[in-house]
Structures are given as C-alpha cells and as structure tokens.
C-alpha cells in the first residue's frame, strides 16, 4: 500500500514525537537524567513554547513585539494564584486556560491600538505595555507584590511540558500552513498589497499577536508550576529579550531554528555554569559573534520538512 507523502510525513512527525518521549522516559528510568539535566530539558521545552509563539508574531506576521514576557506573566500568575486553592492537575489545566484567556484579552486590548504602529515603534509600544502589566502585578495585593508567589504546588512534570510543547508547536505550524497563515505572511511581505488583495490586515495581525500571547501564557503557566516560585522581576524587559534572542538566533521565520536555538542556548547556559563570573561575558561574546558571522541566525528561514524529504524520494523513484 502506498501512502501519499503528506500522510507519511505526518506519521513520521508522530513517530519523532513518540520516540522522543520514550527516549527521555527511558533515560529517566535508567537514572541517566538527574534533576539537573531534567531542569535543563524542561527549560528547553518552556523556551520552545515561548519562542515558537514569538516567532509566529515576528517571523511570520512580521510584527516586532518586545512584550512577550508580559503575557507570560499573566499565565504564570493565573496558575500561581489559582492552584493555591485547587491543587490538582485539573486545577492546573483550568488555571492555564484562564491564563490563556486573560492573556488573549490583554493582547486584544494592547494590540488593537498598537498594531497600527510599525517596526521599532511597535516594539517600544509592546515593551511599554508589558512593563505596565509587570508594574501592575508588582503593586497588586492578590499577586503578593514585589515578593511574588512561592510554594506553588508542583503539578507539572517534564512529561506535561513535553506534551504541551508538541501540541503548541503542532497547532502553530498548522496555523502557519493554513489560509490564516498565508494571509499573515502576505501582510508581512507587503501590507498594502495584502490589503489590496482583500485581506483584512488588522484582523490577521491581531490574530497572530493574540495567538502568540496565548502560547506565552502556556509557557508562563508551566514555568510557574515547575519552578514553583515567581516574582514580577522574572518577567521584565530582559525576559522578553531572552525570548527574542532565541527567535533571532535560530532564524526569524524558522520553527526548526527556534528548536535548535532553544537547545543550543540552554546547553550553552548549563555548560557555562562551571565558568562562574565570566559566564555572561562568554555568553554575550558568543551572541555578538554568531550575529556577525551568521546574520540570518543559525538556520536562516530554512525549515526541516519530512514532506519534502518524502516527495523528493518519490520523484527519484518515479524516474
């Protein structure tokens, strides 16, 4: 029986996801993965979720947002506050849902006025909006002010993060390949021309922005439930910039690149732990050098695709 290349590629991706899970689980059972490495893996997973969402906004919709950490904070605080009274896995997923909805509402409120701006102006406006969110959290009673929340129940294991990472990436990639994704990319290439073709540019820009905010909230919820401690300062401008660095380093507009960069940066960070104080010096030098010698990011806009691999094979077998 012959499958089309699309079915084959979908099966291949499913295989990759399941085998990734099985491998990590096996290493976990065999005690190869100590808590230190597990922490690194979970950080990679959360960073992937955050960066995939930001890559959708920056790389595919072409809107330069510098406020990702603000939406992450909403998700994190929703989980931190709600799971204190509902300390069950169901409570966690409920809080994540609430965080996503709140983040989406905030994204609509922020996005409708600011998405009229372009380029760096949009970046500064979204950065300002994220800072306003952070300062509000810093001064509210329910969020426990600048001290933040601690003793958040540990409702998240690496497996939850892994599954949610796969789900978010799948949904994002499917959005990119859908009619909406093409509309969003048309807006990125030329807003005027896209508008002339009948695409409602404001609506699709906002859609990508809100979508990205929802994924940021998922990342924030996972962060809160895994690390168990959150404070407003975890979600400052530097946190937004850290996510931006993953996106640009991997290649703007490449989801594969986002994965590679999230892994490379986390491993680099873990390795550099041994270097003590000069850790950040090496990190910043590495960042500058990669950007100078590889200005398009590690992978540019190249995307790994099983579909392409299979269809190429089909073409060669027909010949």
């Amino acid at each position: 029986m012959r499958f089309s290349s699309r079915v084959k590629s979908n099966l291949a991706w499913l295989g990759v996801m399941v085998s990734g899970f099985v491998i990590i689980d096996g290493l976990e059972v065999a005690r190869v993965i100590n808590p230190f490495i597990e922490n690194m893996l979970v950080t990679i997973g959360i960073n992937v979720i955050l960066a995939v969402g930001l890559n959708l906004i920056i790389g595919f919709a072409g809107q330069f947002s510098l406020g990702h950490a603000g939406f992450m904070a909403i998700g994190a605080y929703a989980t931190g506050i709600m799971t204190q009274t509902m300390s069950t896995p169901l409570g966690f997923f409920l809080s994540m849902g609430v965080g996503m909805v709140l983040a989406m509402v905030a994204a609509v409120i922020v996005g409708i006025p600011t998405l009229r701006l372009r380029g760096d102006y949009l970046a500064i406006a979204t950065m300002g909006a994220a800072e306003i969110i952070r300062i509000l959290i810093n001064n509210l009673k329910i969020t426990n002010g600048a001290a933040g929340l601690f003793n958040i129940p540990a409702l998240v294991s690496w497996a939850t993060v892994y599954v949610l990472m796969c789900v978010t990436t799948l949904v994002t990639v499917n959005f990119i390949h859908s009619r909406g994704g093409r509309a969003v990319m048309a807006v990125r290439e030329d807003e005027l021309a896209a508008g002339a073709m009948g695409i409602n540019t404001t609506r699709w820009k906002l859609a990508a922005f809100v979508f990205g905010a929802a994924t940021a909230a998922i990342g924030g919820s996972l962060h809160a439930a895994y690390i168990q401690t959150i404070a407003p300062d975890d979600f400052n401008i530097m946190a937004s910039i850290a996510i931006l660095i993953i996106v640009v380093l991997g290649g703007v507009g490449s989801i594969t690149g986002t994965f590679v960069a999230a892994i490379v940066l986390s491993v680099l960070d873990t390795v550099l732990q041994n270097f003590g104080t000069i850790r950040m010096i090496i990190y910043s030098l590495a960042l500058i050098l990669i950007m100078i010698f590889k200005p398009t990011g590690l992978l540019g806009s190249w995307e790994f695709s099983f579909k392409r691999v299979f269809s190429r094979r089909e073409v060669t077998s027909h010949e």
Partner: protein, 292 residues
C-alpha cells in the same frame, strides 16, 4: 506653589540627564535605524571614568567631564566599528540583537572587572544649597541643567552649522544619495557615534555627581527611558529628543510627587503609548507618506 516649583526644578535636572542620553539614541537611530541598546552602558562607562579619573588621577570636575566625553566617544566609535559595521546590510533585527549583546558584554565585563557593588561617586564639587523664594536649589542641579543645555546647544550648532553636521543630515535622509555627492559614509557614521557617546559620557559623570552612587548596571533603566524619550520627541529629531527627555523627567517627578512612585514607570510607558497613537512619529517627527 512652592512644592510645584521644587518639583519643577527636580524634574528639570533629571530630565536634562534623560535628554543628553536621548540625543545619542536619536542621532544613531536617525542615521542607521538602529536602537543602540548599548547606549545606556556607555553612560555607565562615562560615570566610571569620572569615578576613576577623579579618585586616582585627581582630575577636577571639568577635566573629568571633558575626558569622560573623549573616552566615551572613542569607545562608541570602536563599538560601531567592530559590532555594528559588519551588520550594516543585514536585517535590522540582527543588528538589534548584536546591540543587546554589546550591552550585556559591557555590563558583565564591568561587573567582572570592578565588581557588581555600588560605589559612591567622589564629591568633586562641594554641594551648596541656595534658598530662593522658599525653594531649595543645589549648585549641582544648576550645574547639571547648565551643562546639559550648553551641550545641547553645542550639538545643535554642530549639526546645523558644520560640514560634518550637514553630512550627517544628508546620510540620515538618504545614505546612497549622500555617497553619490561625495560624503564618506563610514566617517559620518563614526562621527555620529562619537558625538552621541560623548553626550552619554557627560550624562554619566553628571548623574554620578547628582545621585552619588554608580554601579555596572546603572545604565539599563535610564537607557530604556531615554529611548522612550527619543521616541516621544520624534526619533531623528534633536530638539525632539531634548524635549522628550524633559517630558519624561518632569512626568516621573510629578508622579512621584503625588505619591504614586510605585507606578512612575507605568505612567511613562502609558504616556508613550498614547503619544505614539496620536502622533505615530513622535512630537517633532517627520510624517512620511506611504508610497505604493
């Protein structure tokens, strides 16, 4: 009325620091469309140069100020040469990440070299407080305001009256056409970085004298606020950056004066968003008509 006058003076001295920093942002952005994230850290380096030159070389205040400007100008040119020049033709977001990398490098490099602790800035000038109509004005505040205004006028003259200033304006309008009429692009951009960094260095020494405390991370928040000031004033416009700096300084002081100091940054960002929505190119920014 008295508190109002007092806050006005405090706001103006803080605002003039932001204005000096915002000038560097606005010139660099105007000429190569880069948000120079490392600008705030050059201001930090200026403050540290002032600290060491006064403590160890026994410079007086004016010599420290002038030498800090020269040193920062050189650092600015070096940074541009090594980090930004190779990326001039790549995507702007790449240059932005490089600027963030340079900022991290300067912050962590200084933390490594001199330690991350805050240190007190030497009192190069004895503080004298004048009482006038019930207002308290220190000579330091007057000095900051005077020096900042003098530097801004000097900068305006350089840009409007000299040949190099004309070249800068030409490059910011159209780099290729500027090259066609014989302007050396690299030289002009280097000169812009030198000017902007010199202003930041001066601001660093002045803030050291005013707040009396410096540390390697001191440039981060003022840097971002100064960029906000440049955007409010209309990026690329020198009078706009000065006005934006004063607006931010006065706004922050006013919010603090009514007892909402916890929200002072939020108010600044809120005003930024509102101004951008009403005037998308800032107060003095040029409106560009979109071409199809």
């Amino acid at each position: 009325m008295q508190t109002f006058g007092q806050q006005l003076i405090n706001g103006l001295s803080l605002g003039s620091i932001y204005a000096l920093l915002a000038l560097g942002y606005t010139m660099v952005y105007g000429i190569i469309k880069l948000i120079n994230f490392a600008h705030g850290d050059i201001y930090m380096l200026g403050a540290f140069w002032g600290y060491y030159s006064i403590n160890y070389f026994h410079f007086n205040f004016w010599l420290a100020l002038f030498s800090a400007m020269v040193v920062c100008a050189i650092i600015g040119v070096v940074i541009e040469y090594f980090a930004y020049r190779p990326l001039r033709h790549s995507a702007r977001i790449t240059a932005l990440i490089t600027a963030i990398g340079v900022s991290f490098l300067l912050e962590n490099g200084m933390s490594y070299l001199v330690g991350a602790n805050a240190r007190s800035f030497p009192q190069a000038i004895r503080v004298v407080t004048y009482h006038w109509l019930g207002l308290r004005v220190s000579n330091i505040q007057l000095l900051i305001l005077g020096t900042a205004c003098a530097l801004m006028i000097l900068l305006e003259l350089i840009i409007k009256r000299t040949k190099m200033g004309k070249a800068m304006r030409a490059v910011s309008v159209d780099p290729e056409a500027a090259q066609l009429v014989g302007i050396n692009l690299n030289q002009t951009i280097s000169f812009t970085f030198a000017l902007g960094s010199a202003m930041a260095g001066a601001a660093g020494v002045l803030i050291g004298l005013y707040y009396n405390s410096i540390d390697p991370l001191m440039g981060m928040t003022p840097g971002i606020k100064a960029f906000v000031a440049a955007v409010i004033g209309g990026i690329g416009s020198v009078p706009g950056a000065s006005l934006g700096g004063f607006i931010i300084g006065l706004l922050e002081t006013a919010v603090q004066a009514v007892g909402l100091s916890a929200y002072k940054d939020a108010v600044v960002y809120f005003v930024l968003i509102v101004i951008l929505l009403v005037l998308p190119a800032g107060i003095f920014g040029k409106r560009t008509r979109e071409k199809v």
